[in-house]
């Protein structure tokens, strides 16, 4: 069965520092992988996605993620964090089945940014 693990419940980084949020997945085939961001009390917004091709994908707001099949990972990175990046981040894996497209979300990592 598909699963997504985000090992860090919360992370605190200083503004201007680099960021890496970890994500590991379990899926038999090549997965569809996503990172979403959620600001407090709001819905989720897609940051980036990976389906195939170049394993380093660029997203919005300066984020990028790298797909590593050998490690079953899809870690999210940003070279310099801004205070506005404070939010909750969700990694997700999707698949197409007979019932349609389903997405399994990780438990999320809350990012705190300190001045």
């Amino acid at each position: 069965a598909q699963s997504v693990t985000q090992p860090d419940i919360h992370i605190t980084v200083s503004e201007g520092a680099s960021l890496e949020l970890r994500c590991n997945y379990s899926y038999g085939a090549t997965p569809y992988l996503f990172w979403y961001v959620q600001s407090p009390g709001q819905g989720l917004q897609l940051l980036l996605k990976y389906f195939s091709g170049d394993t380093l994908v660029q997203g919005i707001k300066g984020f990028e993620a790298e797909f590593k099949r050998s490690q079953s990972s899809f870690n999210l990175r940003k070279p310099s964090v801004h205070w506005s990046d404070a939010a909750e981040y969700f990694c997700a894996v999707g698949s197409i089945g007979t019932g349609g497209f389903k997405t399994i979300f990780g438990a999320g990592t809350r990012l705190f940014v300190k001045a």
Binding site: F34, G43, L44, F51, F90, I96, G99, G100, T103, A107
Partner: protein, 114 residues
């Protein structure tokens, strides 16, 4: 462009009362539709998804139900709410052919059951 609406934004209901949350999508046809629940400090739990009118798949046994009476309308219901139904409910849609499953989320409904 496509938009997704949810209402109400906030709801406080007593235990045992009924529930009806509505989600509508504009600007697209034949969307896949989803209901998620997000408990405080936790991830998203998929409750229901639908690939077409009248087609509902349930992911988690519970006292909630979903219906899709129209192509772009998705309703989450309960006959009798439980305390454990409190949470943040998110509706989402995806167009597989267009976005390979990328989901677009509504603003959510905060439900508190007292």
């Amino acid at each position: 462009s496509q938009t997704i609406h949810q209402w109400p934004a906030t709801l406080v209901q007593p235990v045992g009362s009924p529930l009806s949350l509505e989600c509508t999508v504009e600007g697209t046809s034949n969307p896949n539709l989803y209901w998620y629940r997000q408990a405080a400090g936790r991830g998203l739990q998929l409750l229901f998804y639908s690939v077409g009118i009248g087609q509902i798949s349930s992911e988690v046994p519970q006292n909630l139900s979903a219906s899709r009476p129209q192509d772009r309308q998705f309703i989450l219901s309960s006959k009798k709410l439980l305390l454990s139904d409190s949470g943040f409910y998110l509706c989402a849609w995806s167009a597989l052919a267009g976005g390979r499953g990328e989901q677009f989320f509504g603003p959510g409904t905060r439900l508190t059951v007292l």
